[in-house]
Each structure stands twice: as structure tokens, then as C-alpha cells.
């Protein structure tokens, strides 16, 4: 696969309830995903070639006694409910990932970091190795921009794990399109060329940056459109204009 969409993050004030709501709304199943310290995700597989939505949120309110910018951002964008807060692209080799890192004058979060506390882990302790770029004090999600991932081993990819058997479950056949803010040129400027934008099934709505909707195909079912506001609607990206700092 060339550059592709890997997953989309949906920030939630209550990930259990949001997963249940989305499941009842769409018929899409989910599984209890991974956790790292104060945060956890529930995963909604979207079908081939390996896409998913991660419903993410803070699950340890005691941790909020020590605030930081990331936690505050999550709180600010979920105070009024679920918001799409991240578009996560994927590549198939470390070389490609490093190429994007160089483009962004950044480095790579390595997949083989031996510190378990640096990785999300599953309920059985499994850690899915993944590398990503760019690396920074702030995630580029705050600026409404996508980052890029590479999985050295996709055999345990989050999109392929069994879901809870929800009633009237539908079988997803993959992402058909993702509606994002801004323009194609904005995205081309960020990724390093229009050729990368053309690899992605994106629709641009001209609104503030970030994800606004995801369309998923399904077997014997009409297309499923999941529409939630982008995080940038709750917290303008201008607040993080100096995200490289």
C-alpha cells in the first residue's frame, strides 16, 4: 500500500458510553482496546485494508489533579461530547516513515522502545509495536494535522481483533472517504506534495482543520457515515500555532 489512512481518533468524555452509542448508531462492533496510564481506547474495526476508529479518553480522573497541556486539550474538546481529534496515516516501511520525518525536520518514535510505560498495552498485556512521526512536545493533532505510523508487524493490528458481539452487527468493508477541514492544498503543504493527497480518500470541506466525518462501506448495508465535530471546532488550532516549539 502507498500512503494510506490507518486510523482515526475520536476523543470522548466516557469511552465506554461512546463505544456503546456508536455501536447502537451504526451496528459496528468494537473491542476493548489498549490503555496507557490515564488514557484508554476502545477500537472500532472498519474492515480492509485495515482501518479503525479509536475512541479515546481519560479514564483516571485522579490523574487530573496534575494537569498538562495534553490533558487540558482532551478535556476542552470533550466537554461538549465526542470530537474527532486525530487523522492517522500509515506507510509500509521504515524508509517511508523516515522520509516523512525528514520532510518535517523531525525524528521517529521508535517501535522498539523497551519501556512498557511508553506504549499502550492491551488487556492481556500485549503491546502492539508501532513507530510514528513527527515527534514533538505537542502532537500535531492539536493543529488539526495528520501524523504517520509504521507497524513492523501488522498481524496483530488493531483493525483485525475480534469485537464484542453487539446486536444487529454489520460487517464493515473499509473506509470510503474521510471528510476533513481545510483544502487539498493545505494537506499537500503539510504532507510534502499533492501526490500524497491524491493517494488518500479525502474530501475537503473548507472548515477548520481536522476530521469531520468518516464514511464506511458495509456488507448488505448502505454506507455508514459517522459525523462528529472536529476538535478544532471546540479548541481552535490557532491556539497551537507554535506546535513545533
Amino acid at each position: 500500500m502507498p500512503l494510506h489512512i490507518d486510523h482515526i481518533s475520536l476523543a470522548s468524555p466516557h469511552i465506554f458510553r461512546s463505544a456503546d452509542t456508536l455501536s447502537k448508531e451504526t451496528g459496528l462492533g468494537y473491542w476493548t482496546g489498549e490503555w496507557l496510564r490515564d488514557s484508554s481506547v476502545n477500537i472500532v474495526p472498519l474492515g480492509p485494508p485495515g482501518n479503525f476508529i479509536e475512541i479515546s479518553g481519560i479514564i483516571d480522573i485522579f490523574s487530573l489533579r496534575k494537569m498538562d497541556e495534553r490533558k487540558q486539550w482532551i478535556l476542552d474538546i470533550t466537554e461538549t461530547g465526542d470530537h474527532f481529534n486525530g487523522l492517522c496515516l500509515g506507510v509500509d516501511s521504515m524508509d517511508e516513515l523516515e522520509m516523512f520525518a525528514r520532510h518535517w525536520k523531525s525524528t521517529v518514535n521508535r517501535a522498539d522502545n523497551p519501556d512498557p510505560a511508553a506504549h499502550f498495552q492491551r488487556a492481556n498485556g500485549y503491546i502492539l509495536p508501532m513507530a510514528s512521526t513527527p515527534v514533538g512536545k505537542r502532537t500535531v493533532w492539536m493543529a488539526g494535522l495528520p501524523n504517520v505510523y509504521y507497524y513492523p508487524d501488522r498481524t496483530y493490528h488493531s483493525s483485525g481483533q475480534p469485537t464484542h458481539p453487539v446486536p444487529n452487527q454489520v460487517q464493515p468493508t473499509g473506509i470510503k472517504w474521510v471528510e476533513v477541514g481545510g483544502t487539498a492544498q493545505d494537506m499537500a503543504d503539510w504532507l510534502g506534495g499533492m501526490q500524497y493527497v491524491e493517494m488518500l480518500p479525502l474530501k475537503f470541506n473548507g472548515k477548520s482543520l481536522g476530521v469531520w466525518a468518516v464514511c464506511v462501506g458495509a456488507v448488505d448495508h448502505e454506507d455508514i457515515v459517522i459525523r462528529r465535530p472536529a476538535a478544532s471546532e471546540a479548541v481552535p488550532t490557532a491556539k497551537f500555532a507554535d506546535w513545533r516549539s
Binding site: 466516557h14 480522573i61 485522579f62
Partner: protein
């Protein structure tokens, strides 16, 4: 469907770990149902008076993910996602203990609950102050609503509907007693409560498959439960011999202090601070 095939594969994988538990649980629950039905028929009143049995033990904490994982790692007893409560903004992990009993591990997972203290369960503050997961209570199970109402009445309260949404969707209705404006939450004073499952007893939390993890043991029931106070005090509260429930007493403030769980490789002890408020 790919994910459904995978689901079956997962169930096959966990079957070896849980078959014994499920079978034992199902048999026990069926036996209880049959006994209750037989008594109701015999009396013609619909009021069965079987002794209550242990349903679940509760652990309150600040991080349900870390607590469940750490406990699994220490005991090798498996767990799974228990869903969420609808009355309070919590998430749960369930650890089946065998014999129709489960450990309910719970924490507040909605950050906005912190802005309204009324939405925080009482045990959360105890877990925070003790910097540890805490044993918050014991719940016994009866077979019929008539029994539950009778117990509630005896304690000057009523039965309260406790809705809960497991991960596979349809909400579960479980009634709990005693509650009421004139009585304090029994768990806060270290006393057991009672429950009656209105629906989905057939998919009781004690009988569901756990997440497959390396080296898990097969839990085979609660061997003992260590409570504060005395046997006489407990008998007065329960109107039932605490020996039926394998309770033993340490003479400390009322509450739960530890449980022993039988497994296929020997007994496992789970000991945590009691959340009981005595003042």
C-alpha cells in the same frame, strides 16, 4: 465476516480456560433457579426463602484498567471488560471467580464527573486517600424479587434498580437492596447488600469468557471471605448463618478485607484495604 470468525477463534481459545467455570456457574445458577421455582410452586405464594448466596465482591479504584491488569498479573485470574454503569459515571472490569461469583472492579471514567461530587461513588474518595484499590462491598444474590423486597423491608428500605450496560449491548437490570432515604448505604458501613437479577441471569458476569492472556488459572469459587466485625453481628444483619457464605471474621471495623479463591493450581488470596467508613 472476518471479525466474527475471529470472535469464534477467541472463544475457542478462552474455552479451555473458562469451560469449567461456565459449566460450574451455569449448573449452580440453574440449580438455584430450579430450587426457587420449586419452593414457589410448593408454597403457592411465589415467595421462596432460600439462603442468599454470594454474587459479587466489589473493588473500587482510581484506574480500572491498571487495577484489573495488575490483579490479573498477580493472581493469574483472568478478566474482561464489564461495561459501564448508567447511574454513576463509571467503567467496570469483571473477574469471574467461579461458582457463580465475580469480582467487580470499578472506577470513575468520566472526567466531567469530577465537577459534580454527587456523581462520584463514595468509594472513589477512599481509594484516592488510601492510594490503593479498596474492597468496597459484598453483594449477595436471592432468587426472587419477593425475597429481595422482604429483605429491604426488614432493613427499613426498598429495592433499587441498578442498570448496567455490558460491552455486548443490551442493558442489564439488577435490583439491589436495601436502599432508601432513611438508611445509609450498607456498603459504607461494611454491611453486605442483596441483589436480584431481573434479566440476563443466564449471562451472569461470573460466567462470561475472559480475555485470553498467558498463564491464566481456572478459578473454582470463593474459598473464604474475610470480613470485619463478628459473626454474631453479621448473622443479625443477614438473618442467615454467615458460615453459608464462607465468611470469617477478624474483629476489625466492618467491611471486606480479603477473599480466598480456589483455582486449579491452589488457593489465591486477594487482600486490599477495606473502604469502610466507620465515622
Amino acid at each position: 465476516m472476518t471479525h466474527k470468525i475471529s470472535r469464534r477463534a477467541m472463544l475457542r481459545n478462552t474455552a479451555a480456560l473458562t469451560t469449567g467455570v461456565v459449566a460450574a456457574t451455569t449448573a449452580k445458577l440453574r440449580a438455584a433457579d430450579a430450587q426457587g421455582a420449586a419452593r414457589a410452586t410448593a408454597t403457592g405464594t411465589g415467595t421462596a426463602t432460600a439462603p442468599a448466596v454470594l454474587d459479587h465482591v466489589h473493588i473500587g479504584c482510581t484506574n480500572v484498567y491498571a487495577t484489573a491488569f495488575d490483579l490479573m498479573k498477580a493472581t493469574k485470574i483472568g478478566h474482561y471488560d464489564g461495561g459501564f454503569g448508567t447511574n454513576i459515571v463509571t467503567g467496570q472490569k469483571t473477574m469471574p471467580l467461579g461458582g457463580g461469583v465475580y469480582l467487580e472492579i470499578e472506577s470513575v471514567v468520566d472526567p466531567f464527573a469530577t465537577s459534580d461530587a454527587r456523581l462520584r461513588p463514595w468509594w472513589h474518595a477512599r481509594a484516592v486517600s488510601m492510594k490503593s484499590p479498596v474492597f468496597s462491598g459484598v453483594c449477595l444474590r436471592v432468587n426472587t424479587m419477593d425475597e429481595l423486597k422482604e429483605i429491604a423491608k426488614r432493613h427499613g428500605g426498598v429495592a433499587r434498580l441498578n442498570m448496567h450496560t455490558p460491552s455486548d449491548g443490551p442493558p442489564v437490570k439488577c435490583w439491589e437492596a436495601p436502599h432508601g432515604p432513611n438508611i445509609r448505604n450498607p456498603w459504607e458501613t461494611g454491611q453486605p447488600t442483596w441483589c436480584c437479577w431481573e434479566n440476563r441471569l443466564y449471562s451472569h458476569p461470573s460466567g462470561q469468557p475472559v480475555v485470553n492472556a498467558p498463564g491464566l488459572v481456572v478459578p473454582m469459587g470463593v474459598a473464604w471471605i474475610e470480613m470485619g466485625g463478628t459473626k454474631a453481628q453479621m448473622q443479625a444483619w443477614l438473618d442467615q448463618n454467615p458460615d453459608d457464605l464462607k465468611m470469617k471474621f477478624n474483629g476489625k471495623a466492618p467491611g471486606v478485607y480479603a477473599i480466598g479463591v480456589k483455582t486449579d493450581v491452589g488457593d489465591v488470596e486477594i487482600r486490599r484495604p477495606s473502604a469502610t467508613r466507620t465515622t
